[in-house]
C-alpha cells in the first residue's frame, strides 16, 4: 500500500470512519493509483493538488460521502485569519521589544521581591532595615545577560513559528476542479 493511501487510512482512523468503509476507499484508491502508475500517469494527474495533502483529501472524501460531518469551513475561513493576524502581530511586537531591550546594552529589567524576614534570621540586624519582622523590599539587580529579555525573545520566536505553521495549514482544502 502506498504511503499516500496509508496516510489516508490514518486520517480515516482518526476521524472514526468505520473500518469497512475505510477499507473500501483505501482499496479503491490503491487500485486506481496502481493502475495509473502502470500507465505512466502520476498521482498528481489523478488527484490534483490533493496528491500533496492526503489528510485533507481523506477528510473531504469521507465528508462528501456523509460518513463524517462536513466541517464548517466558511465560518472558520472568516474567523481564523483575524485571530491569526492578531496573534502574529502580538508575537512580532514581542520580538521587536525583546530585540530593542537587548540592543540597549544596559540591563534595565530588575526583579523586585517583597518578603517578611523572621527575627531570628536577622543576625546582626542592620540598623537601617528597621525593626525585626517588618516587611522589606529586596532588590535583585539582573546581570548583563538579562534573562527576562531573553525569555521574551525566545517566546516571541516560538510564537512566530507557531503562527507560520497555522498560516500554512489554513485554507488548504477546496472543492474538486478540472480544466481542459
Amino acid at each position: 500500500m502506498s504511503d499516500f493511501v496509508e496516510q489516508c487510512r490514518r486520517e480515516w482512523r482518526r476521524l472514526d470512519v468505520p473500518d469497512p468503509l475505510a477499507d473500501e476507499m483505501a482499496a479503491d484508491l490503491a487500485s486506481d493509483l496502481g493502475e495509473a502508475e502502470a500507465e505512466g500517469v502520476s498521482a498528481e494527474e489523478l488527484l490534483g493538488s490533493s496528491a500533496f495533502d492526503p489528510r485533507s483529501f481523506a477528510a473531504s472524501w469521507a465528508a462528501e460521502r456523509g460518513i463524517i460531518p462536513v466541517p464548517p469551513r466558511r465560518a472558520n475561513a472568516r474567523r481564523r485569519p483575524l485571530v491569526l493576524v492578531a496573534f502574529t502581530a502580538v508575537a512580532a511586537i514581542a520580538l521587536i521589544v525583546a530585540a530593542l531591550l537587548l540592543l540597549t546594552g544596559e540591563p534595565r529589567v530588575s526583579v523586585v521581591a517583597s518578603r517578611t524576614t523572621p527575627p531570628h534570621l536577622l543576625s546582626p540586624p542592620p540598623a537601617f532595615f528597621g525593626p525585626p519582622g517588618a516587611s522589606r523590599q529586596v532588590l535583585v539587580q539582573t546581570s548583563a545577560s538579562t534573562p527576562v529579555e531573553w525569555i521574551l525573545l525566545l517566546l516571541a520566536i516560538v510564537a512566530l513559528g507557531f503562527a507560520a505553521w497555522l498560516w500554512s495549514r489554513w485554507g488548504r482544502s477546496r472543492p474538486p476542479s478540472v480544466a481542459a
Binding site: M25, G48, S49, R65, P175, V178
Partner: protein, 117 residues
C-alpha cells in the same frame, strides 16, 4: 495557476458532476476509468481536489448506484452508474448547461477577437 487554466477550472467546477454522470452513463466505470474517459475528451484534473469526493457526494445523494466487480484481470473495483434520479439530474443539468452556454455565446458573439502574432 495561469489565468486561462484558472478560468477553465472555475467554469468546469460547476459541471464536473454532470461530466461524471455523462461518462458513467456510457457504461459503468470505476474511478480511474472515469478519469481516463474525461482525459480522452480533453478534460484533465488540475488544481485542488479530485473526482473521489465528488463521487462520494453523488453516492450520498442517491444519484449513482455502485457495485463491486473484477476489472480486467485486476482486483475487484467499485463501479458507478447513474441511478434513475441521476439520469434525471443529468438531463436537467445538460438542459441548464446548454441554456447558459447559448446565452453566454449570444453575449460574446459580438466580440471581435484579433490575434496578433
Amino acid at each position: 495557476m495561469a489565468l486561462g487554466t484558472q478560468r477553465r477550472t472555475e467554469l468546469l467546477r460547476g459541471v464536473l458532476d454532470l461530466c461524471l454522470l455523462a461518462v458513467m452513463d456510457e457504461g459503468p466505470a470505476y474511478g480511474y476509468e472515469m478519469t481516463k474517459r474525461l482525459r480522452d475528451r480533453g478534460l484533465a484534473i488540475v488544481g485542488e481536489g479530485s473526482i473521489y469526493p465528488l463521487l462520494g457526494r453523488l453516492e450520498r445523494d442517491g444519484l449513482v448506484e455502485t457495485y463491486r466487480a473484477a476489472s480486467n484481470g485486476g482486483p475487484p473495483r467499485k463501479y458507478y452508474r447513474p441511478s434513475s434520479a441521476g439520469r434525471l439530474a443529468l438531463a436537467l443539468g445538460v438542459s441548464e448547461w446548454r441554456a447558459a452556454r447559448d446565452a453566454v455565446d449570444t453575449v460574446l458573439a459580438t466580440v471581435k477577437v484579433e490575434v496578433v502574432s
